[in-house]
């Protein structure tokens, strides 16, 4: 019964989403204010129905209902409870439903938020969200229904993809989708503003906290996926420029640009049409990511099973939503003019440069990701684009961006004559350079190269960002959350640059064959291989290796890299053995049995690698703090915090 109930709830949700979209968009357009009253009930009803459908699917998984095709394909009687729940979004159909559920959550949150806004505007926002929801519900029902029955029921399930049987990866999709879907809110605000034909600074103030929150969720989602790849895939890397990774990174880059351009729009009413465009593009890239992952047009490790029919549907949806939005943009954006001026070194200028560099970075990633498709479509032959393209081309806009931020945090709105604020910039720059020199020449050793430049930039950014907030605290001034959040995110970017540079430059690694009792010397540590023992999990068996790590004769830790064989799918997974030691990760992955007791092992010492993810988590925290700033919490809060305008240090 439950699957049928879920299916029925989805159909009702589709109808209610249709009503939500119709009343939300038609009532203001036709001037029928009485219809506005229908928007909220439709929205609430849609959310309840979506939640019901989701609960039904979860229940089918929890209760091992192998008469449901999707459950039979992605679960198994030996699968632990937590992974049976995570299995709900372990494949295409269920993850699509998760997308819809999260959109419903955002919609409800927005519905509460817009109740304080002008009713017509609020109705339009909910109407656009209803339209997005409608499209995804239709997609699910037409091509990807998770509630289809198997007759006869399968005796047992084919198990969840072993790659996904991991806590981090169980959480990765919900967080990532929360970010993706959150950009739908900014998108809806943008469409509503264009339909109204009016975009003022209040609009930017309403839109900003939603965008910040979505961006922060997306950051955490990406970081979790990267962390998972590091310890689960056994390659020892954390970013592979895989098309699916890129699909999540492009909206992140554009979203970062958007939260900065919203700052200028909120403060000065500047860059209005540009902000609108970014809001449309950020969400479009989220949709495009969904398309790339599910249509099978690109080769990727993470792709869901390719299905061109789904691709056609999503493409049609993209054309309607994005094409419609951009057509509306072409029609309405020319009306948005601003006469606000600013000087060359003002904060507005820096926000502009920031946006240009971030969009260039996103466009570079986009070009590389789409290049195989573009080249093929243009008859230029097949080609592959890998890290060897992305790494250098991505640095091109990003290194200048880091320097830019280090300077920009000292700029003022409107007026910019650098000399006034030159001292902290120069001092922090010199100190940063000194630290980088000390690290490169003194601590790590080796020739200074690009590593020196980017370490110095990272240290400069950290120090420079801290100058003003520390100064304010010393003078006994309060720090609003927006400023704490901004500072945290900028410091985190500096930490990120330092961590990535260090990992990329100073990782010691060796792939080596060892017999029991043999020792490898890597990066000042001794790794003694003590052989392997068999292990027995709930739905897998396998071996774990024992590697005794010591330094200067002193034992440090014993690592247990595992090699698991998941019984149902007969697939082999690696679980690296990792210990963090004095800021470094000691990493061992177990390779193959080479016979005669010898195994191949990958041994790596990766300094500061944890700070890569920690930095992203800090950025996200900064985003949440800024989103919860006082001026967004009350309907008619003053636009500026006391004592803020003179300093000019607003986020």
């Amino acid at each position: 019964m439950l699957p049928e109930l879920g299916h029925f709830a989805l159909i009702l949700a589709l109808l209610l989403a249709g009503l939500q979209a119709f009343f939300g968009l038609a009532a203001p357009a036709l001037g029928r204010d009485r219809w506005l009253a229908a928007v909220m009930p439709a929205t609430a009803g849609q959310a309840v129905m979506v939640a019901t459908a989701f609960a039904c699917l979860v229940a089918s998984f929890v209760r091992f209902d192998f008469s449901v095709a999707y459950v039979a394909q992605n679960s198994n009687s030996a699968l632990p409870l937590i992974y049976r729940i995570a299995a709900v979004w372990g494949a295409h159909e269920g993850s699509l439903l998760l997308w819809i559920v999260l959109l419903a959550c955002w919609t409800i949150a927005v519905a509460f938020g817009v109740s304080r806004l002008p009713p017509r505007f609020g109705a339009r926002v909910l109407g656009v969200l209803g339209l997005v929801s409608f499209g995804f519900l239709l997609f699910t029902l037409a091509t990807s229904n998770p509630f289809l029955r198997l007759d006869p029921a399968a005796p047992d399930g084919r198990d969840l993809n072993p790659l996904l049987q991991d806590p981090a990866l169980a959480l990765h999709p919900p967080l990532l989708y929360t970010g993706y879907v959150g950009f739908a809110v900014a998108f809806a605000f943008a469409i509503a503003a264009m339909l109204e034909g009016r975009l003022d600074q209040a609009w930017a103030r309403w839109t900003r906290p939603w965008t910040l929150a979505a961006w922060a969720f997306l950051s955490i989602g990406i970081a979790l996926g990267s962390w998972w790849a590091y310890y689960e895939l056994g390659w020892g890397g954390y970013w592979f420029w895989d098309p699916v990774e890129n699909a999540s990174f492009m909206p992140w880059l554009v979203g970062t640009a958007l939260i900065h351009s919203l700052a200028a729009t909120e403060k000065r009413g500047l860059f209005k049409s540009w902000t609108l465009l970014l809001a449309i593009v950020a969400f479009s890239l989220s949709l495009l990511g969904t398309f790339l992952v599910r249509s099978g047009v690109l080769v990727s490790v993470h792709s869901f099973a390719a299905d061109p029919a789904r691709g056609v549907f999503i493409l049609a949806f993209l054309v309607i939503m994005i094409g419609g939005a951009l057509a509306l943009y072409a029609w309405r954006a020319p009306l948005l003019k601003s006469n606000a001026g600013f000087e060359f070194a003002s904060r507005e200028s820096f926000l502009l440069f920031n946006n240009i560099l971030l969009v260039i970075a996103a466009a570079t990633v986009f070009g590389g990701t789409m290049a195989p498709l573009i080249s093929d479509a243009a008859g230029l032959g097949t080609l592959s684009v890998g890290p060897q393209y992305f790494n250098p081309t991505f640095l091109l806009p990003m290194l200048p961006l880091v320097a830019l931020v280090a300077i920009a945090v000292h700029s003022n709105w409107k007026r910019g004559r650098l000399p006034e604020r030159k001292r902290p910039v120069i001092v922090s720059g010199l100190v940063g350079l000194a630290i980088a020199l000390a690290l490169v020449l003194g601590y790590y050793g080796g020739r200074p190269g690009l590593a020196l430049v980017s370490l110095a930039l990272g240290a400069w950014l950290v120090l420079s960002s801290l100058v003003d907030p520390v100064d304010r605290l010393r003078r006994g001034l309060s720090l609003p959350r927006a400023i704490i959040g901004m500072t945290l995110a900028h410091v985190a970017l500096g930490v990120f640059v330092i961590a990535v540079t260090t990992v990329e430059t100073y990782t010691a690694e060796e792939d080596i064959a060892l017999a029991q009792g043999e020792t490898a010397h890597v990066g000042g540590y001794d790794f003694r291989f003590e052989g392997v023992a068999s292990i027995d999990g709930p739905n897998y068996d396998g071996v774990h290796g024992m590697v005794q790590v010591s330094r200067n004769g002193q034992p440090v830790v014993t690592l247990h890299p595992e090699k698991r064989r998941y019984l149902v799918q007969q697939s082999v997974m690696t679980e690296a053995g990792i210990a963090t030691q004095a800021g470094r990760d000691l990493f061992v992955a177990l390779g193959e049995d080479l016979g005669a007791g010898r195994w191949s092992l990958r041994i790596q010492i990766r300094p500061l690698i944890n700070y890569v993810w920690l930095a992203v988590a800090l950025m996200a925290l900064g985003g949440f703090l800024a989103a919860s700033d006082r001026r967004y919490r009350s309907a008619r809060a003053p636009a500026t915090e006391p004592g803020e305008a003179g300093q000019g240090s607003t986020a």
Binding site: S295, V297, A306, L315, G323, Y329, A330, L373, T382
Partner: protein, 175 residues
């Protein structure tokens, strides 16, 4: 032109690229061989069925033939095997079976049990000839013309239709 139309124009281009991508997505993973229209690499390898002689690919010059890459470890090769056996009985186009990264005893047992569709079976135990032919998965089948030029390449298991249309008819049509 109105610069606010640029994003829409860019999106239209993108949609076209994506549409072409979807149309071609069922052949994704099939890599078009750069060797088509080029001379088939020549090779001399041990002969699975006659340990005393080596197989020299130049003996096939002057005739149309198919070069089929197979191995007993390859599931899809089992699927196509009967198609190849039938093709040999039909005797329109000789097939050379390149035995790729396999065990000789198992390969002989396979042919003894399932029938031998091949005129000759060169043994590429180290996979070097397969690299020269750009082989990236078994089964693959090349059609080679009398001058020794690769005319066509089939990736994946042979079917009767493909054998007739792409192999037999091409060879018959040209000669």
């Amino acid at each position: 032109m109105n610069r606010f139309l640029l994003p829409l124009a860019a999106f239209v281009l993108l949609a076209i690229v994506l549409a072409i991508g979807i149309r071609q997505s069922n052949t994704k993973g099939i890599v078009v061989s750069p060797l088509i229209g080029r001379a088939a690499p020549e090779f001399v390898l041990p002969n699975l069925l006659d340990a005393t002689k080596r197989f020299d690919s130049r003996v096939m010059k002057g005739r149309w033939y198919a070069l089929n890459v197979w191995g007993t470890w390859c599931i899809e090769c089992r699927v196509e095997h009967e198609v190849l056996v039938a093709a040999r009985q039909e005797a329109k186009l000789p097939i050379v079976g390149l035995n790729w990264k396999d065990e000789d005893t198992e390969a002989r047992a396979w042919l003894a049990q399932l029938g031998n569709p091949y005129e000759a079976v060169p043994v590429d135990a180290e996979g070097r000839v397969a690299i020269d032919y750009g082989v990236y998965g078994a089964p693959e089948t090349f059609l080679i013309d009398p001058r020794g030029v690769i005319v066509y390449k089939r990736i994946g298991p042979m079917t009767p239709e493909i054998w007739q249309r792409e192999f037999v008819q091409r060879a018959a049509g040209a000669s």
